[in-house]
């Protein structure tokens, strides 16, 4: 079927506003990751969901960032009170199992003005 789908593809928001980024993983994939890709910074791990286990939130940069995964499928990454340094491409990836290769979405480019 379809690959990992992320929406929106682009988001421009004003500093201080909240944003929600959505990820639809490949059906049947139990693992879901959020990464942030900033210019010159590589891929920064944010959060990892695996099945029904408690998510690994160790990469979230501050308490303004949160994510949930409903019904083991769709995930939403929420950034509250956005700051200019939050501007980046936010990538979602899923895999069939923890050690399977990741399938990446095309990302959401977030620009905070």
């Amino acid at each position: 079927g379809a690959g990992v789908s992320q929406s929106p593809s682009n988001k421009v928001t004003e500093k201080g506003k909240d944003v929600e980024l959505r990820c639809d993983p490949i059906s049947g994939h139990t693992a879901l990751y959020w990464y942030r890709q900033s210019l010159g910074q590589g891929l920064e791990f944010l959060i990892y969901f695996q099945g029904n286990s408690a998510p690994d939130k160790s990469g979230l940069p501050s308490d303004r960032f949160s994510a949930e995964r409903t019904g083991g499928s769709v995930s939403t990454l929420t950034i509250q009170r956005t700051q200019q340094e939050d501007s980046a491409v936010y990538l979602c990836a899923s895999s069939f199992s923890p050690n399977s290769p990741l399938h990446f979405g095309n990302g959401t480019r977030l620009t905070v003005t």
Partner: protein
């Protein structure tokens, strides 16, 4: 927690030159190792992976990587690069159990191949 270092941030080669991109990881346990590639305007995709067995693994498009456990390295190689190999390359590692299961990426190496 594991970490990954890619020491070359930008590599520029001419076509037909040989390529080696360095990757070192830090983790005390058993690891799975990956190289991902991001071509211009495209999303990340898997190039090759190592789980166990033969430490020399072959991937798509003529790439290979060698796992050297004693050096904590997983360098990517290609004997003769092409212009179409221009992309950003990311090394990644995951532990095989517990809290180390999250996939950690290096900062990436931008490869530019001149025609």
């Amino acid at each position: 927690a594991q970490s990954v270092s890619q020491h070359n941030h930008h590599v520029i080669l001419s076509e037909a030159a040989s390529l080696e991109l360095g990757c070192n990881y830090s983790y005390g346990g058993t690891v799975n190792l990956f190289w991902y590639v991001q071509y211009p305007g495209q999303h990340l995709q898997l190039l090759l992976k190592y789980f166990s067995g033969d430490p020399l693994v072959k991937g798509i498009k003529g790439f290979e990587a060698e796992f050297i456990k004693s050096k904590f390295s997983f360098n990517l190689r290609k004997p003769s690069v092409q212009w179409s190999d221009t992309a950003e390359y990311f090394c990644a590692v995951t532990g095989v159990r517990g809290s180390a299961r999250q996939l950690t990426f290096g900062s990436g190496t931008q490869l530019t191949v001149l025609p």
